[in-house]
Symmetry: C2
Subunit: 326 residues, 2 copies
C-alpha cells in the first residue's frame, strides 16, 4: 500500500490519501483518518480499511480518485513526534570524519550513531531548500527511513522490526559549515540539521517485495545533482538494520506512533556507485586527486532522489529540491 | 492567564482548560480549541477568548468550573513539535563538565549550547520516572522554559522575545551514566535524555509580573528531593536570555507554533541556594569535601519542583515525580 498527504490549507498534517501502485492516481481517505499522523495512532484499526481502498484504487474501482500531481503532495508525513536519524552506513561515517579530521568512535561497529532531527515541519518533497548563508555549506543526504508504530522502551532489535509500519525516503539537509563548531561544543547537531524533506509517498513492506531482507532495503537510491547522475548507492549496505536503529532509539524511551527512524546517508564503498551527499564526493575527490573540486550547494542547485523496484517503477515518488537564497 | 491539559482517554493532547490564578478551579475550554497544542497554532485568534474565560473563572463566574486536582492534569503541553533545550546557566556547565572531566567550550559565553530533546510524549507532572537500569545514573534537572508561537528563521534575540506565548517548568530527566559515551561518539545526547515532564500549568507573561525582566524569570526554582530542601536557585541568573535561546534555535529553521525552548538546569554560584540537579550537588561535594556522597536516583526516590510568586502562590503547579524500576 502507498499513502500520501495532500497539501491542505486547513491542516499542517495534510489530508490522508491512498495512492496507486503506479503513482498515477490517488483517492482521499480522510473518512478513515484525517491525516496519516492520526492514522498511525490507530494503525491496527485502520490498516485493513486502507488496504481495501488501495486494492480498489489499483483495480480502477475507487470512487473519487484523481490523477496524481506530485507537487500537490506534502512530505508523506508532513510533521510528526520524532525524527531519530541514525548513521548505519559505516563507509559514510569513515568518509565524513576523514573530511573533518575527526576520529572514528570506538563503538563504530557496535553502537549506532543517532541524533534527533527536526520533525515538526518537514519541507515538502518539491519545496525549495532555504539558504540564509552560502558559508553554511548546504548539502543533501539521501536516506531511507522507517515510520514506526508505538514502540515500548527496551524493545530488542529483532522485536523492533515488527513495529515498522511504513518506509520513506529522506533528504536530510545538512549544513556542513556549521557542523565542526557544533560538534566541538559537545552537544551534537542542531543548527547544522535544519528541516529535511521526505518522499511524497510512504509504503508498506509488501511494496518492497524481495528487496526487503534482514531489516534493510536492498535497492539503489538514485540521486541526481543538477540533473546529472550523482549516486546509485545500494541501501542494503546498512551495517545496522532498522531493528537495531529502532531498538537504539527506544533504549530509554517509548517511541510515539509515527516516529521516523532514518538510516543515515546511503553509502557504498564502491566508488562507481557514486554518493548520496556532497561531503562524500568531496572526500573521494580529495583521496583520489589530492584536491576537492565540488563546492557545496549554491542558489539554484537542484537535487533529486528516487528509488525504483525491479520492474523500474518509482516506489516512493520523487524528492526534487532546489536551493534558494533567502 | 493559566492554562492546562486535562488528561483524556480520547486524545494524547489532553483537553484544553483554563485554570484560575490560585490553581483551585478550572474550566474546559475545548469549545475554543480542543487542545493547547491546537490553540497555539491560532494563538492570536484564541488568546482574547481564553483571557475572557480566565477573568470569569477568577471572578467565580465561569460556567462548568470544577475543583482542580493536579493529578488529573497532564504536562501543560503533553506533546509538541520541538523541545530545544539550551544550557543558559554557565555555572551549571562549569560544574557538570568538571564532573565528567570535559573541557569548557571556547564559545561558552557567546554561543548557547542546545540539543533537541524528546517532545512527542512528555511524562505527566506526577508520573513515575521509569528506570530500566540503576547504572544509567538517573538525575533530574529543574528548568524554566518558554512555549513559542511560530518563529521565522533568522529572528534576532530581541525580536525573538515577542514570540513567547507561555512559560512552564520542566523536569529534564537525564541519565548521567549514558552521557560520557554518547558525547564521546560525537552526536550528542540521545539515550541520555529520555522523556521529561512539564509543570501541569503554563502561564502567560502577565502572571510573572515584575519577576519577568530582560527575558528571564527572576524567581527561585524550589526543588525538594525525597521531601527535603534541595535547591532554590534563582532562574534570573541565565547568562543567555530566552530571546537568545529562541534565536539560536531559529538560526537555520522556522520554529513551529508550540515549540518549547528550555533554559537548561537553573543554577547559581551561591552554594547556599542549593542545586536543581544531583550532578551539581555531587560535584560541589567533590570540591568541598574531596568525595561524592550523593548517589543518583534509585527506585522510590522523589523530586519536587515548584515556583512561587512574591505573594507565595504557586505559579505553575507542582512537578512531583518518583523513580520507578521497570
Amino acid at each position: 500500500m502507498k499513502l500520501g498527504s495532500l497539501k491542505s490549507p486547513q491542516s499542517m498534517d495534510g489530508e490522508l490519501c491512498v495512492v496507486s501502485r503506479d503513482l498515477k492516481t490517488a483517492v482521499k481517505a480522510t473518512q478513515v483518518a484525517p491525516s496519516l499522523r492520526v492514522a498511525l495512532e490507530n494503525w491496527k484499526q485502520h490498516e485493513e480499511t486502507l488496504q481495501k481502498i488501495y486494492k480498489d484504487l489499483n483495480d480502477g474501482k475507487a470512487t473519487g480518485s484523481f490523477a496524481v500531481n506530485q507537487n500537490d503532495f506534502h512530505s508523506a508525513l508532513p510533521r510528526t513526534w520524532l525524527f531519530a536519524d541514525g548513521s548505519a552506513f559505516i563507509y559514510h561515517i569513515k568518509l565524513v570524519r576523514m573530511a573533518r579530521k575527526a576520529a572514528l568512535p570506538e563503538t563504530l561497529e557496535t553502537v549506532p550513531l543517532m541524533y534527533q532531527g527536526e520533525c515538526g515541519q518537514f519541507l515538502a518533497p518539491t519545496e525549495d531548500i532555504p539558504q540564509r548563508d552560502f558559508a553554511h555549506g548546504t548539502d543533501f543526504e539521501g536516506e531511507v527511513a522507517v515510520v514506526t508504530d508505538f514502540v515500548p522502551m527496551g524493545t530488542t532489535p529483532d522485536e523492533a522490526l515488527k513495529y515498522i509500519r511504513l518506509f520513506v525516503l529522506v533528504n536530510d539537509v545538512s549544513l556542513r559549515g556549521l557542523i565542526p563548531e557544533e560538534l566541538a561544543a559537545g552537544f551534537g547537531f542542531f543548527q547544522s540539521k535544519p528541516a529535511s524533506a521526505l518522499s511524497p509517498f510512504a509504503v508498506t513492506s509488501d511494496e518492497l517485495g524481495d528487496a526487503l531482507k534482514e531489516g534493510r532495503i536492498h535497492l539503489p537510491l538514485h540521486v541526481k545533482y543538477n540533473g546529472e547522475f550523482f549516486g546509485k548507492a545500494n541501501a542494503g549496505a546498512m551495517h545496522f538494520h532498522f531493528g537495531h536503529l529502532i531498538s537504539h532509539a527506544a533504549k530509554t524511551r517509548n517511541l510515539a506512533a509515527g516516529s521516523i527512524i532514518g538510516s543515515g546517508t546511503v553509502s557504498n564503498d564502491k566508488h562507481e556507485n557514486g554518493s548520496s551527499c556532497l561531503a562524500e564526493k568531496r572526500m573521494i575527490e580529495q583521496i583520489e586527486t589530492g584536491a576537492i573540486k565540488t563546492p557545496f550547494m549554491k542558489n539554484g542547485d537542484t537535487v533529486e532522489m528516487e528509488m525504483f523496484n525491479i520492474q523500474g517503477q518509482s516506489i516512493f515518488g520523487r524528492i526534487f529540491q532546489k536551493v534558494k537564497s533567502v
